[in-house]
């Protein structure tokens, strides 16, 4: 059993990681940290984990030395800025004790390769540029080999995961022109577990709303960075998120002009070929469309391609579970890979539907 630490257990991504690791056959959570909940058992914070071994882990304050000495692997589930600082400390402490350490960062801190772009969008300077260079973007469908060798993995954002997987084959194969609109919809767990009026039940339930539209959302540069790598040229997207009254799930409807006269069947063949070795991307048969419930609680990204012949556009619809594939289960998959375990170890449960 590998020993894992989890820095920041109180948010939804921390909660989901605890849930996944509760039954992981090869990774055991031995350390969980939180300032507010220090001293509590995990089962007191998360009663649904009572009776699992993980439930009796006592939450502690963050202590870099302790974590670096005891853990083979650490998940960082803390806000951006905090994550990069912790990463620096943890590697320093690990080095002192001559220990190798794998870090999976669920924040945005190591996703943007260019520190200037990071600083522009996140409004803080990057304090760990040398680590940034080492970090591998943890989209395992694309970067599996790099992840296997990585020490530091930048776990992708939820919206970027669904956006990039949806667009990659089309851009790689020159199917669409560079005028991309992503109309994204996310479940409310994506907004975090912090107490705030805006995400109270009565503010979200039986409601639907856009937010941060028109080029303001921080996932924009992350998406554009990876699409640049797919297309081999600079790509601009109009990324526009909305808040869904559901717990889990992202569904993106992506619009782009077709670059040439190409049929839906041909595009479908391109996608199927591109993802033939990606067990957790399901390219749906033509005519079927993704639904968030079909991926709930799972690592799947479901993708459909649809051609609007009247307006000569490609419509790509992609769905993930924002907490699972969009955060913690993807982190566990990345942990599996960088520890030399099978990709699906402990995370192959079927989607929970209904």
């Amino acid at each position: 059993m590998y020993k894992a630490g989890l820095i920041g257990v109180t948010g939804y991504t921390g909660m989901e990681l605890a849930r996944i690791l509760a039954v992981h056959p090869h990774i055991e959570l031995t350390h969980a940290t939180s300032r507010q909940e220090s001293g509590k058992k995990i089962e007191d914070l998360y009663p649904f984990l009572r009776s699992y071994k993980i439930g009796s882990v006592v939450i502690s304050d963050y202590n870099a030395e302790e974590l670096a000495r005891h853990c083979d692997l650490i998940f960082l589930a803390v806000p951006h800025g905090t994550a990069m600082a912790s990463a620096g400390e943890l590697y320093a402490k690990a080095k002192e004790s001559g220990k190798s350490l794998k870090l999976i960062d669920l924040s945005a801190d190591f996703r943007i390769k260019d520190p200037a772009v990071f600083e522009k969008w996140y409004q803080i300077p990057h304090s760990q540029p040398q680590l940034l260079q080492k970090a591998v973007y943890g989209l395992f469908d694309i970067y599996e080999e790099e992840i296997k060798k990585a020490d530091l993995i930048a776990n992708p954002g939820c919206y970027p995961t669904a956006s990039i997987l949806g667009l990659y084959p089309a851009l790689k194969n020159g199917i669409i022109r560079n005028d991309i609109i992503i109309d994204a919809k996310s479940g409310t767990s994506g907004a975090g577990r912090k107490a705030q009026t805006a995400t109270l039940f009565c503010e979200v339930h039986d409601n639907f709303r856009p937010y941060s539209i028109g080029g303001k959302h921080r996932h924009t540069p992350e998406i554009e960075q990876e699409l640049y790598l797919a297309a081999g040229k600079e790509i601009f997207v109009s990324f526009n998120p909305h808040l869904l009254p559901i717990d889990r799930g992202i569904l993106n409807t992506i619009y782009a002009p077709l670059a040439a006269d190409i049929s839906a069947e041909e595009i479908h063949a391109v996608y199927t070929e591109f993802y033939k070795n990606a067990p957790f991307v399901r390219v749906l048969p033509l005519g079927q469309l993704p639904e968030t419930r079909y991926v709930r609680g799972s690592l799947f990204c479901d993708i459909a391609v649809t051609v609007d012949k009247r307006t000569k556009k490609l419509l790509i619809t992609s769905a993930i579970d924002n907490l699972a594939r969009g955060a913690s289960m993807q982190a566990a998959a990345n942990a599996n890979l960088c520890l030399g375990l099978p990709l699906a170890a402990g995370i192959n449960a079927a989607p929970v539907c209904p």
Copy 2:
């Protein structure tokens, strides 16, 4: 009190009309028809209307002669095809008895001016072309004067209402180019009250999904017809609907390339001016965005304009209550106008939030 009939009381639009008319100061529902529920009182079908006078109205079988003789106004809340046939009969019977009759048709039968376009999208021929010519499209924000004089009103579709109101000022004023995407999301009452597995609670709740995307939805030609009138030239839209796990509400996110270098402030001024005499369109201050809860149970259409400077697009977000503004309350507003009543009579209740 004007006497009103309601043909097709069992669907959600019929239910909503009954709810509205229960407290209308000038229109009294005297006749309600349904094949399946004939013989029941309205309060037995809809227990929430118990203790209102409307509750004791006995539902009857459809009888054109009876309806035409007794009613000043009839709402048709039946499927397309059936509606046009009934309209033909009702006018014939009214003529026989020398009576004037106002019809508000909530189906699609009289919305599309061109019978060939209607036939292409609805797959049935139009049996009442002479009535079609008389019909007025019931978007009262645009056609108030025509509606006041009309006998037959084609009540707009739910998606078209939110789409047309959102796009009209921009097209009228040449602000955008003709490459329009409408990413539409609707509450489940829009799918009707028919027993079917696809709209069972457990198939919709905690789920989100696209449907009929890529140019397949029948509201496309209705939207394009009215936008043509706004723009003075043919307009094509890529209209793509999604199903929300909410009861009521449509929110459209509309994308179009800016035709020129124009600021958000200027566009906002254009919209404000255009709707200055439209009491039920609320152009939101820049920076605010519509939410479905803010229009729930009301006649309002809330509209926001947002400019995505990075991609030079105009984003228009518009929200309505699909049952109220998108169907039955709009029908009641049209009834008010064509009967010579004030637009807002009986339908000025504030949105129900939360």
Copy 3:
């Protein structure tokens, strides 16, 4: 138009009062107070009220003198303890300026007649015992005449409203024995609009849970006080609330042993007779059961009686909208009565279903 003030506009009861007063024909909200939101317009806090006159009312800090001088009527929508202090101040200021003033208190401060009982359950002493004596319990179905003459009205709690109306006729007529269980379920708006993790969307949605069961909930003494008056003897109830993943609505399932061999039909007749002059209590026909949606947004309390012959129990199910009948619309009804207006003025909208 009577001029009304609203102290505490930021909670859900304040929001609902603003919504109701937005279209009230005889009461105009002229003053609204809030510490946090002072300086904002109501339409900025509650965008759904934009375009109503009330929307442009500027929220101010609490100022007893100003309020007492300008308002005919003041709603107190602040926490217990704060409410009684304000009431004392407002009456003092009104007296100074020789003005009569009606107060409707939505908190618990004036509901419990016995200050010792109040202190036991609310853990604070009662600072206004002389006002407590003047206060009338605002359950207008029972106390209409007293309310018409009252200056200070203790607006009933949400659970008590549904509980007392459900039990009153049975206790008044000696139908049941004194071993009453109230299994109560409330929508989440009852938990307030304060930012807290426990009522975040993802903690409530797709979930159901009991809370404060086993005699701990503060509505217990309020219910028992009124049931004592109904029965003419001390009554003890086991009151046990649960949290529903809905916005609005309370449904109580009340269990009591039958005192004698009496049929459902006889009990139904007793209830029908008791409420024959109560337009907002609907005693359902035998065999029908209440649902929260059937009273949503309305002043109705729906009540059904069911006899469990196997176990010789009376089951009373009662439903209200906790925000409307259980708080703000009941407050508006009480305001109507004490101002000499018709009970239903401005609050007769039909329930919003779906």
Copy 4:
């Protein structure tokens, strides 16, 4: 790998069984039957199972001979009446081919030991009395040894599972008197996947309602049968169900008078002792209460005991996932036991929260 058949794949219990067996390490679904969906693949009916081996199983018509010859184990997920007839046929065919066969019946057909009681509540005679005698009630926390040796297992009802587990220790130990009220609340998946207006999204969402209260629900005799065995004397319960706007989950609030002056601590100790060897019953620490989300997608039954000192009652709150513990996952657990597999094989996933 054991080979399993599933008769009746189209309902929610069939769907959930398919989901569970998709990843079961020792049981493979090889046959699935349905009249309406015959010829389809499981992944076409349930797209969330695409890419699992089970997804490509072709649904066939029911053929007793084929099923009995190829399957080691068959799950019956068909309505009562149909299930007993199939069971008779399947055993006859198995006998012909000299094959042993395990049957897990998810219907009510083999739960009620007394055919007269069955007939009274289900309104049909029992056609297989000899099988009824052999059948073991599949509540494995109580009957584990019997289940291990059984060929025919009557899988418990959803409400009975939560009710019986909640009451068993109290009745076994004489803690409560025989005046029991079960106020039960269930998620909508319990109402089945049949197309009907009453369970459409817009009829259930944002709503809560009682149904079949007052001694009418068919789970009553099943609960009383098992409680008789616990108490050693006849027990009557007033069982009263309600419909929750959630997908999965049952929460029962159970009321009974305390038989003696006993503390919450003592009762808690009794429960803890009683379930010390039951890994899927979690007796919560005093002060904690169950929530449906904490057991979602799992085999757990969470139980809390609370004493209402004012009214001298024991309150037992118990929660399960009605589809998992209340039906299909309990069926899989029973399959594990009667096949000689570990109880938790393939079904130990942690609850899905949120």
